[in-house]
């Protein structure tokens, strides 16, 4: 018999953690006002997984290769549209992977890092 149980247990455990995180985030997104630290933290986590390999870890970015999101205008509609549909054949579309709650959390994180 192949040593299978251990791995199954591992993936199950990780899946549980991930599910728990997603639930928390959804709850926060439903009630939060965008300044909620939990929402920002969830956005930060989603950013690290989905966005940081182009926009820079912790949103640190020289701003010439991909936009410096700390300077993204205070325009939530534009942010949602760009994340969902992509832009200029460079920014890939994420509408099939990220739901409104996740994009909302990303927006909270981006807004929290805005430079004047």
């Amino acid at each position: 018999m192949r040593p299978f149980n251990w791995a199954a247990a591992y993936f199950a455990a990780v899946a549980m953690i991930a599910t728990a995180n997603a639930q928390t985030a959804t709850q926060v997104a439903a009630t939060g006002d965008g300044s909620d630290q939990a929402l920002i933290d969830h956005g930060k986590m989603t950013y690290a997984e989905k966005c940081s390999h182009c926009h820079g870890p912790g949103m640190m970015n020289a701003g010439t290769i991909t936009p410096d999101l700390r300077r993204f205008p205070d325009d939530k509609t534009r942010f949602f549209t760009t994340v969902k549909n992509g832009k200029n054949g460079r920014m890939p579309p994420w509408g099939d992977l990220l739901d409104d709650d996740q994009i909302g959390a990303l927006w909270a994180y981006v807004s929290s890092q805005r430079k004047p």
Partner: protein, 562 residues
């Protein structure tokens, strides 16, 4: 550039009449063919050394641009030009191009298209590293994991084969290798939970000949180095072109990191991640392997170039393979059997104290132990390694390997990793990655392969991510992310010349001679792994914008007026 044009006209060298299809035999002789650049690495040995001497320590100060060709692309330009009979073949993520050396004019350009979702699963830069050539055909990979063949005369697509699916996290950026009549390609994707491989294709038809997985299944040799189903997401990407020894008829190919980075879930050595494979090109069969970093948590991907040379060890001529590994050790192996001959640190290393010469395994420190147990550690080298992908050059005249190395460490802390097809799967905290220190972040080093010690080093505040080229003229070429293309004295590292190319250099310089003139070509255009991941705001005034530069030595003025 009047002087150059006139000198070219006066040259007594006659161009071959009519373009001949380029042959497999020419590929074998690529390292000594000074009139073309036919191989990735300027020879199957990947030495990136040219016997040419027209550009030398005296004349290099007179190096001037001949022309500049726009790649009309604003991603990182990491393509190594291939040159055959006066035509440069260069690639970007978005096109393949043929350019006339004499005029700098485009002969043809063929666009590459891929689904807009593709960049989601490309970890470290939207790039392409170049084409391979054989028998009137060019071979390249595409970001969405297709392998294509183009007619070298017209750019017309001759065949296209899908190697893998972006939905599963696979992408392709590497330049193919043509060896023993087979087109070999590798894939990227180990950051997305893929199980990776090397493919062999028929150059004439694109027929798939073989696939060798770099992560074995439980029934294959090495399968017992993975627990449970972890092999299915085990990574082991193959995103840099292998080297080839035609006499031994063996291909040497580096294998990338295991997935996820977090090693807690995948106990075991995790073969063949962080290893080099010796392969039979015709069948893909593994002849031997050597693993640099077993069960590695730190992304010490071993894909970077496996340079082949024949050197004397204890007075005995030895066929070796050299690797400045991302794990911080410089390895020399006997390439006939994979036996370890030397392994010494060439940058600061704290995850292992040494390499056990008997077993070939690293002697790990508490840093590696703590990292595996989930503690936050400061590790040297960082996940970008002691040297990243940018290829070094080996100069057989000085016996030194010239490499752009990295001088910073990283903060490392694991997190749980959840596999979802086509999504990031690393299992580490990506919010606080670097331990920069206060000194320069990189050096161009002239490394003694057998000791790892540098004969000289040239620091750089922002590290260099350019390929390196050395020549019998005693000159070493490299480039800066801030745009300067540079020449150094091979013996002492003294800077002899530089030229601002307009964007950062992450390209691979090459040199050849045509009609009596020695040329150097390099791409400019930044946007690769350091610029994306470092958050180095000192690069804020460096524009993107890809182009190909050609340089030659300006003749004395009197020649121009003859």
């Amino acid at each position: 550039m009047k002087g150059i044009a006139l000198a070219a006209g006066l040259a007594m060298v006659l161009a071959p009449i009519g373009a001949r299809a380029q042959t497999a035999d020419q590929l074998v002789k690529g390292a000594t063919d000074t009139s073309n650049v036919l191989n990735y690495g300027m020879g199957y040995n990947l030495q990136r050394f040219s016997p040419l001497t027209q550009i030398n320590k005296e004349t290099v100060k007179n190096l001037v641009p001949v022309w500049n060709y726009s790649l009309a692309d604003d991603r990182s330009e990491e393509s190594q030009p291939i040159i055959y009979q006066g035509v440069i073949y260069v690639s970007s993520n978005s096109a393949t191009m043929a350019v006339d050396v004499k005029t700098g004019k485009q002969i043809w350009k063929t666009k590459v298209e891929y689904p807009p979702e593709t960049p989601r699963i490309v970890c470290c830069g939207i790039i392409n590293r170049g084409v391979a050539i054989l028998d009137g055909k060019l071979f390249r990979t595409t970001l969405d994991a297709n392998v294509i063949a183009l007619d070298a005369k017209t750019g017309k697509e001759l065949w296209r084969e899908k190697a893998a699916d972006i939905k599963e996290g696979y992408s392709m950026t590497m330049a193919p290798l043509v060896a023993d009549g087979v087109v070999l390609t590798g894939v990227s994707g180990a950051e997305f939970g893929t199980r990776d491989f090397i493919d062999g294709w028929d150059p004439a038809t694109g027929k798939h000949l073989w696939r060798t997985y770099t992560v074995p299944n439980p029934d294959e040799p090495g399968g017992d180095t993975w627990k449970g189903d972890t092999w299915k997401f085990g990574g082991g990407s193959t995103w840099i072109t292998g080297s080839y020894d035609p006499e031994l008829n063996t291909v040497y190919w580096g294998v990338g990191n295991p997935g996820p980075f977090n090693a807690a879930g995948r106990p075991g050595d995790n073969l063949y991640t962080c290893s080099v494979l010796a392969l039979d090109a015709k069948t893909g069969k593994i002849k031997w392997h050597y693993q640099f970093s077993p069960n590695n948590p730190f992304d010490y991907d071993a894909v970077a170039e496996m340079v082949l040379a024949d050197i004397k060890i204890d007075g005995k001529p030895t066929k070796v393979l050299m690797d400045a590994n991302r794990n911080g050790f410089f390895y020399v192996l006997d390439r006939t059997n994979g036996k370890l001959l030397a392994a010494n640190p060439y940058v600061k290393v704290n995850w292992a104290s040494s390499i056990d010469m008997k077993t070939g395994r690293p002697v790990e420190t508490d840093v590696a132990k703590d990292a595996r147990e989930g503690k936050k550690v400061v590790v040297y080298p960082s996940i970008l390694g002691g040297k990243n992908w940018e290829p070094m050059s080996y100069d057989p005249q000085t016996g030194l390997a010239y490499a752009n190395t990295l001088a910073f460490g990283g903060h490392y802390k694991t997190e749980p990793a959840t596999y979802k097809a086509g999504e990031w799967y690393v299992g580490m905290d990506l919010t606080d990655l670097w331990d920069w220190g206060t000194g320069p972040r990189g050096h161009l080093k002239a490394i003694d392969p057998l000791t790892g010690k540098a004969k000289w080093e040239v620091p750089s505040d922002i590290p260099r991510f350019s390929g390196v080229l050395s020549t019998a003229g005693g000159v070493v070429f490299s480039g800066q992310l801030t745009g300067e293309f540079e020449a150094f004295d091979a013996n002492d590292g003294k800077k002899l010349w530089q030229f601002q190319t307009g964007s950062g250099i992450e390209g691979q310089p090459v040199t050849w001679e045509q009609d009596g003139i020695q040329y150097v070509a390099v791409t400019s255009g930044y946007g690769g792994v350091y610029s994306l991941f470092s958050g180095d705001e000192r690069l804020a005034q460096i524009p993107t914008g890809g182009s190909l530069w050609l340089f030659a030595v300006k003749k004395p003025q009197k020649v121009a007026h003859e």
